[in-house]
Amino acid sequence: MSVDIARKNLFHDRTRFLITVVGVTFSVVLIFAQVGIYLGFIENASIIIDNTDAEIWITSKSSANFDFPLAFDERRLAKVKEVPGVADADYLILTWLSMRLADGGSEAVELIGFNPHTGVGGPWQLVEGSVQALKAGHGLIVDESAFPKLGALRVGDLVEVDETRLRVVGISRGVRGFTTAPYVFTSLRTAREVDPRFRDRTVFIVARVVPGHDPSQVAERLRALPYLDVHTRDEYSLKTRLYWTLQTGLGVGFALTALMAVVVGTVVVAQTIYTATIEHLREFGTLKAIGATNRMVYGIIVEQAVINAVVGYAAGLLITLLAVHSSSLTGVVMVVRPPVMLAVFIVAVAMCLGAAVISVRKALQVDPVMVFRA
C-alpha cells in the first residue's frame, strides 16, 4: 500500500477538516430534511388512496385531488359494476365538516364515509375498537395522530360533528393527512346523515378488479362512461401528489431550499479545499518535481473531496436518522428511505467533487520549477 498523502494531509489539519465536514454535514442534513419532509407530506397526501383495497378510483370530471373532490350522481355505481373486469365497487364519501371539541372550540375534519361491510376506504390499522362497530350507526373512528388537535379521545367518548352526536368506536393508527384537518371515519350511511348533501350523491366510486385482470385495461373500459374521470390507484395517487407539488408551489419551495443547501455546501467545501490547495502548492510542486504525474496530483485532491463527502454524509445521515426518530414526537413526518439515502450520497459526492474543480485546476498549473525557490 502506498503512503496516502491525501488522507494524511487532510487529517493533519484537523480544524480545516472539521470545518469542511461541518459544511458538508449541514448541507446533507438540509437536503435530507427538505426531501424527507417533502416525501412525508406528499405520501400523506395520497395515504388513503395508497392504503385502500381498490385498484380503480372514479371521480367527477376535473376532480383535482383526493382532498378537494366534487360529488356526482350515485347511480353511476350500477354502470361501473356492469363493466367487464370489475369485481366489485363501493361508494366513498369525503366531506369537510366541523367537530366540536371538549373545550368548547371546534376543529375542521375530513369525514370519510365508507362501506363498513367491505372496509374499502376505511382505516387499515386499528389500535382500539373495530370497524364492524360502525355498522350500528352513529359511530366514528379517529386516528391517534389527530389527538393533539381533537383531544385524547377514547372508545366510547361522544363527539359532535356538524351538530350530530357520534360515538367513538375505534382508534386508528397511521392515517395522517396532508391538510391540517384530520381524517375521521364513519359508515357511509352515517356520513349521509351528518351531511345530507350526499344523500343521493357520492364523491368517489372505488372499484376492485377481478383477479387476473389488468387494472389499466379495466380503467380504460370504464373511461367510456360519460362525465367521470377514471384512474388506476397509482395514477390517482400520483395525480394527488402532483397537485400539491405543482399547484401549490410546495415542490418549488422544497426544491429551492434543497438547491440552496447544495450551493451553500459547495461554496463551503470549495473554499476550504481551495485554501488547503493553495497552502499545499509547494508540496504539489515537489511531488511533480520528484516524478508525480498530473493524474496523481489531482487524484490527491479528488480523494480529499471524496473523504470530505463520505464523512460529512455519514454525519449528516446520522443526524437525519435521529431527526426522523424524533419526528414522530414532533408531528413532522420525514421519509428517508434507502433510495433517498443513495441519491443524497451521490449529491454529496458530486457537490464535493464540483467544489474541488477549481483546486484541481490550480494544482495542475503548478510549475515544478517553483521548488527551487527558497
Binding site: 500500500m1 502506498s2 503512503v3 498523502i5 494524511k8 494531509n9 487529517f11 493533519h12 489539519d13 509547494r282 508540496e283 510542486g285 515537489t286 511531488l287 511533480k288 518535481a289 520528484i290 516524478g291 508525480a292 504525474t293 496523481m296 515544478p368 520549477v369 521548488v371 527551487f372 525557490r373 527558497a374
Partner: protein, 222 residues
C-alpha cells in the same frame, strides 16, 4: 562513464517585449562518482540550469542526455517518468511533506517508483538509517532539526537509486557541522557510482567536490 551530458543549453525567457537569456550555451558533463559544484552569484542562471538538467524546464535550445537517454526529445508527458527514473532532488528548503513522517517522506518517492507496502517501508528505513536517522523514522518534519530535515531529503533523493543527484543549495540553511555531514553523505552517494551536481553559493562545499564550474550571466566560464 558519463552520467549526464548537457550540450549548448540555452534558455530564453520572454518578459513583456524583451527576451531575457537566463542560460547561454552552457555545456556540462559529469562522470559517475563525480561531484560537480556550479557556483555563481544570484541571478546568474544556476536554478534555471539545474531545472533543465533535472528534466523540469525545457531548454530553448540544446540537449541533455542522462544515462544515454536524450531527455528533451521525449514527450512532455514522459518527463515525470524520466525524473522518477534518473534524478534525485535535494532542495534548499528541504521541501518535506509536513503531514508525513520522515519514513513516509522517503516512502512517497519509492511508491512513485513502484515499490509499495512493507518493502517500501523497509527500504525507507534502510535509507534513513544510512543517513543516521534510524531513531527518527516516525518523526514529522516539525520535530526534526534543519540538519535532520536535510538528511531526510538526502535519503529521499537516494530512494530508488537514481544515477543523478541534483542539489540546490543543500548546505545554505545549515550550520558548519550539519553542512559537513550533508556533504559527507553526498560524497558517499557519489562513491556508489552516482553523479552529483550541486548548485551553491557556499564555499564550504569546495573541499568535498571534484570540480567547480562558475556560472556568470548565464555562461559557464570555468
Amino acid at each position: 562513464m558519463t552520467t549526464i551530458e548537457a550540450t549548448a543549453l540555452t534558455k530564453v525567457y520572454r518578459e513583456a517585449t524583451t527576451d531575457v537569456v537566463a542560460v547561454r550555451d552552457a555545456s556540462l558533463a559529469t562522470a559517475a562518482g563525480e561531484i560537480v559544484a556550479v557556483m555563481g552569484p544570484s541571478g546568474s542562471g544556476k536554478t534555471t540550469l539545474l531545472s533543465m538538467l533535472g528534466c523540469i524546464l525545457r531548454p530553448t535550445t540544446g540537449t541533455v542526455t542522462i544515462d544515454g537517454q536524450r531527455v528533451w526529445d521525449s514527450d512532455e508527458r514522459d518527463l515525470p517518468r524520466l525524473r522518477r527514473r534518473y534524478v534525485g532532488f535535494i532542495f534548499q528548503s528541504f521541501n518535506l511533506f509536513p503531514a508525513l513522517t520522515a519514513a513516509e517522506n522517503v516512502e512517497v518517492v519509492l511508491n512513485l517508483k513502484g515499490l509499495d507496502g512493507r518493502a517500501a517501508r523497509r527500504e525507507a528505513g534502510r535509507l534513513l538509517e544510512r543517513v543516521g536517522l534510524a531513531p527518527r523514522l516516525d518523526f514529522r518534519p516539525r520535530d526534526l532539526s534543519g540538519g535532520e530535515k536535510q538528511r531526510v531529503s538526502i535519503a529521499r533523493a537516494l530512494a530508488g537509486d537514481p544515477p543523478l543527484i541534483l542539489a540546490d543549495e543543500p548546505t545554505a540553511n545549515l550550520d558548519a557541522s550539519n553542512g559537513e555531514q550533508v556533504m559527507r553523505l553526498l560524497r558517499e552517494a557519489a562513491a556508489q557510482g552516482r553523479s552529483v551536481v550541486i548548485v551553491t553559493h557556499d564555499h564550504r562545499v569546495a573541499p568535498w567536490v571534484d570540480r567547480t564550474v562558475l556560472l556568470e550571466d548565464g555562461r559557464l566560464v570555468a
